[in-house]
Subunit: 463 residues, 2 copies
Amino acid sequence: MDPKSFIENHKDRLLSELFELLRIRSISADPSYNDDVAKCAVAIEGHMKSIGLENVEIYPTSGHPIVYGECLVDSKLPTVLVYGHYDVQPADPIELWDGDPFEPVIKKTDIHPEGAIFARGACDDKGQMFMHLKAFEILKEQGDIPCNIKFMIEGEEEVGSMNLESFIKNYRDKLACDVILISDTGMIANDVPSITTGLRGLSYVEVEVTGPNRDLHSGLYGGAVANPLNILADMIGSLHDEQGKITIEGFYDDVEAVGTEERAIMAQAPFSQEEFNASIAIPAEKGESGYTTPERTSIRPTLDVNGMWGGYIGEGAKTVIPSKAFAKISMRLVPGQNPDEITQKFINHFTKIAPASVRIKITPHHGGLPYVTHTSDPAYKSASKAYETTFGVPALPVRSGGSIPIVALFEQVLGAKSILMGFGLDSDAIHSPNEHYGLFNYFKGIETIPYFYKYYSSIRTNP
Amino acid sequence: MDPKSFIENHKDRLLSELFELLRIRSISADPSYNDDVAKCAVAIEGHMKSIGLENVEIYPTSGHPIVYGECLVDSKLPTVLVYGHYDVQPADPIELWDGDPFEPVIKKTDIHPEGAIFARGACDDKGQMFMHLKAFEILKEQGDIPCNIKFMIEGEEEVGSMNLESFIKNYRDKLACDVILISDTGMIANDVPSITTGLRGLSYVEVEVTGPNRDLHSGLYGGAVANPLNILADMIGSLHDEQGKITIEGFYDDVEAVGTEERAIMAQAPFSQEEFNASIAIPAEKGESGYTTPERTSIRPTLDVNGMWGGYIGEGAKTVIPSKAFAKISMRLVPGQNPDEITQKFINHFTKIAPASVRIKITPHHGGLPYVTHTSDPAYKSASKAYETTFGVPALPVRSGGSIPIVALFEQVLGAKSILMGFGLDSDAIHSPNEHYGLFNYFKGIETIPYFYKYYSSIRTNP
């Protein structure tokens, strides 16, 4: 049976099973929901067993458990590791939801005229993760499982996947694979499928500028003492030049330039600068000279102040020269750049430009490696062909400006690339009230995934 | 009887009367002390009557009352209006006091080996204000009152003197005077008497920079959107040039340059850059090229960020591009500069340098006029001579970097200059725990003030 017919025949069950999963309040961030998270792991375990996966097991961690199951058909076939998560974001602010976040309902929207499932986790990631289990059912029913398939579904993605690294290091052999398949991202539009091929890395530092050892009266001392806020503002201002380039020495040294051809393909993705500006109500865009907005947010590194504070920030006027000023500064990195090296370059530069009248302290926070899957990768090609089969058009490669640190981690520990076959839309309101996931997207995902296995097996066994 | 003998004969009473006053918890900022403030006004009224002032009256205001009394001896003699205040700062943090802030005790300190009175208001301003009432007693006892003397003692100085302006406007004729005498400042040291001749004015603005209409994910949007914090930092950084000069167009246009001679006299005041830096633990000073630290804090205008905030300022790392960034910015002004004009110049400049990618909102707070009494003023000369008589050395003219808006107000409404005969020391911890006032300073003030009247009457009647 082909995927489309399977879905047609089982539509009600495919929905009711997902709805049951969505009813479980598996909020990983709030310890008062620990029992619900555990219950959700058991539900996933049940689904894995019922579709015929083997060696299904719930692996406890020092946080929430990881559910694993596999189907090893032939050691000569390629192996795909499916990663997803069954935990969800908290539902706050609950009063902004139109209904109970944990009682899924189907409602039509402008973007989803055929209806969308409204519930916390509908898209992120229960809906998208569950597609993979249902796609496996199709393979099973077809009696043709073209790859070895492993499932690793965790319960801590929304709180930083703290225990995933030690798990994959401990079970490196069990998790051995040729590629990792993840549906936890989005695509451009329902008629413009896309695959996320790049993720930016991150370097994040907190800086503290100290002037006098206590807050001073700005009348009595003003003019003769370096004011840490003025100094920090000036230093931050100097981190970009007139062209929007970052002035940190050596910052761009290791950036892998993206070729004209890939930039041309990227430029095919529909984009309106006018609509972009209107969507966030900005009077004009601003960024590095020589690049478009989609390029600035994907293939170019950035530096942003994420928070800054110091002095008197209450109501009214107080005349103080603060002893200290603070800023949180993050840099998004692109392939070639190493977060530790960039952090060190920042520290060197910031220390160098600090005037003698202040003291500087810089504390690095956790960073993340940038990531890229090249469009020449067989797994990428297989995924793109799968989309073409079911959507009628090939998927566009898209580099995302965000960071998913686990993807770089998988590459480091398991030595395998990840294919980010996301079926969500930007408008799905993940992490926000009224999260939803289109019926079109849910069923299209289930329909598309089996083709990935088919094409990937074929391209790997007959390269 | 000369002032010195009077003090010797009445020492115990001069202290016990002040102690009684210090025991009254006249905290103007806290409405739960309203009764104490009222009680203090009555105590001042009693003192005025007991020393023989006439037309003594408590004038209610919409806040705390003003106590007035006068001694008009001869319309041909000059008239001096004494201003002071009987309200005090709150005593918080109370746990940092060595004893009850409202139970005065005498203790020796390194700077006050002969002892100092420890209590809230000991220096600011009950002790200094009370010196004037006691100095009048001396004149009375001498039987020679060389000036018409008016006393105006208010109860809202520590909360901004909100009702003083309307009072002096309403009673402009009653308060008519040739000069105003105030002891609510300090002097350099007990062996280096000084008179505050200049006060800086103030312009204070709050700026708000808006980029996108909501906080954005710095990964998804970073690089393509003006970050209000980066923009505001850059704009603030540009407000000073390499020489520490303020770059606002026309900022220095109306600054009255201080002549070489006055700068030379100012330079006589003892000052050690090394000790200054050590006192506030700064690695190096910083300010406008071509001026010393005492000049930078007195005769030159400044621009300081008093507070700045935006984005994520909690623990850890969040990757947000904030919708808004804020700063409170104040400028200290010197004679010649007008606060309203400077505020307008700031607004013009800041609006002009803002990039097209953000929106700017600027809210002015209350400002204040700068003030100067020239050393050629007869009242200044009289005061300086009075110090010379009792201290053995003339007072140095000192310009303070701070602002006392009422002094400019007196000049505007009453058309009279103020002489700031302060006897406190910087180390007296006014507004802080363990406020104190040296016995030397208290008695020396009482001794010095009568000579001011004598010399001022003489210089005015025989110019």
